[in-house]
Symmetry: C2
Subunit: 318 residues, 2 copies
């Protein structure tokens, strides 16, 4: 286990997989996972934080492997009855998952910060790493489409990513500031490694970078900033990344992702199937590490994380 | 089945038993159950209406017979997880029950009245009778004790009715008015029978009577107002009625209950074990009907309801 001080920026499922790898590969007490909150929303009067929760459930060994979201050992009596009552059922909430949303909402309404609630819940689930929202103020990702703007979860869940994307807005970002844990991780000695997880660049990572000050913290920290490609062989492992890149007029390739992070990243992790693109990406600036990035097993996650740590040490020596 | 127009005032379990008897004994489309809302409260950010829900679950054949509260076929994954998260677990909420609270809270926050939500939920559960709150404005029963006032559910559930009672307040009652369904039932021809169910007089029926105008509606309607004793042989079938009567310096007897309703009731239904008290109660004013009031089976409920209807017809002829 490496004692490296590590900050990872993560969205939901794909990012959480690598977050878990890092959790096993480095000293967890030196690890901070910063979760996107741009896809948070209010639903049924509850504050839902999909990415924070996916990271929390994944690191707490509570994630539902079959569904790819939510908790394992889940039951659905609440949703079943909500349907009988004519309530909104397009966003599934399991009975156990619901407890998290109800308790978080209650605590936020009582005046606690999202950071405080997130940290406490992670601790109660026995997670030794720190998990923090990117910001405590609300930031809301809006998906621009030819038919007008869509609230993120309406685009993502209700409309199943079917609308064509023309751009994104991060409402409220301008008034947000990095969460205390995020700022603290860059104070003093700062991190020795910053990882941009293989999450969707537009809707998982860009909202984090849209919080004023976050990009500057990454640029100024002196530690290698390493992004892992969420695009492998021109396809997203999960989710609409490739579809979005096409709709935005970008090449749906790993190189396209690397260019999206141009100026920010020192290293880029490329899947072996895309090894031929390594030289072209390096010509754009970042160093490249080629490895297996498709994380099917826990071993895959830990191996990828260890490879990133080694890559970061090479970058510091170069 | 009698086509009598009937209004019943009810608290929770005991009242709901007779409400179900009436539901089976009279034309349900002519039956209105008015539920106490004095023990409603906000919990975990949700609006909980224990008496409305007990009546609804009972008439919808959804009540949990073993527990005596909540729904049947219930699961507890939510509460279990809430405990893990350090949330408040003194008030049990089942997974299915929770859907009702979440959906009602959402609809109230969206501006619907409690009356509208209550009526719609009853309809969705297939209930042919009308169920209405006593009022749409919040009324909150406060239990006065030597150690100060207690919010009702803190007294009732959290403190298990252990504190000594010195009196009651119904906060907000002064600003409330009868719900639209309650007022409508007394407009035009008005009801042909008003039943005060065998609920706790102090904390289930008095809050309803504390809504300005309700007592006057009962007094002026011309129909027999019949109360069923919740005290049988000096004991309450369920709950703290007898304990409260003792603490308030009253005789914990059926006659004590009848006197509590003096001036309001035309008839009083007394259990056979208390038959000896009939003459004394009649000397106070109301006519008395002696019958089995302990409702163990559905047949018991229907029989009691039918007896009340017959009693009301006798009262009209006398």
């Amino acid at each position: 286990m490496s004692g490296i001080r590590c900050v990872a920026l993560s969205g939901g499922v794909g990012g959480a997989k690598l977050a878990l790898g890092l959790y096993k590969a480095v000293d967890p007490s030196e690890l901070l996972i910063v979760a996107n909150t741009g896809d948070d929303f209010e639903h049924l009067g509850l504050r839902i934080c999909p990415d924070i929760d996916t990271v929390t459930y994944t690191l707490g060994d509570l994630a539902n492997q079959e569904l790819g979201w939510g908790r394992r050992d889940e039951s659905w009596a609440f949703m079943d009855t909500l349907g009988t009552l004519g309530g909104e059922t397009w966003f599934n909430l399991g009975d156990r998952d619901l407890a998290l949303h109800v308790e978080r909402t209650r605590r936020l309404q009582a005046g606690e910060t999202l950071s405080a609630v997130t940290a406490d819940i992670a601790q109660r689930f026995g997670i030794a790493a720190a998990i923090a929202p990117m910001a405590d103020r609300d930031v809301r990702t809006i998906v621009e489409t030819p038919d007008g703007p869509l609230a993120f979860q309406h685009y993502f869940v209700r409309d199943r990513c079917e609308p064509t994307v023309t751009g994104f807005r991060f409402d409220g970002a301008i008034d947000a500031r990095p969460s205390a844990a995020l700022e603290a991780a860059f104070a003093g000695n700062g991190p020795e490694l910053v990882v941009i997880c293989p999450s969707n660049p537009f809707i998982s990572i860009d909202p984090i970078l849209a919080v004023p000050g976050v990009r500057a913290l990454l640029e100024a920290c002196g530690a290698p900033v390493i992004a892992v490609s969420p695009i492998v062989g021109g396809q997203a492992i999960k989710g609409p990344t490739a579809k979005m890149m096409g709709e935005l007029g970008m090449d749906a390739t790993a190189q396209g992702v690397a260019r999206h992070y141009a100026g920010l990243i020192d290293g880029f992790v490329l899947d072996t199937v895309d090894a031929a693109a390594a030289d072209a990406i390096m010509a754009d600036g970042p160093d490249v590490h080629v490895t297996n990035t498709v994380m099917k097993s826990l071993d895959d996650r830990v191996s990828l994380a260890r490879g990133i740590v080694t890559f970061s040490e090479q970058l510091k020596q170069s």
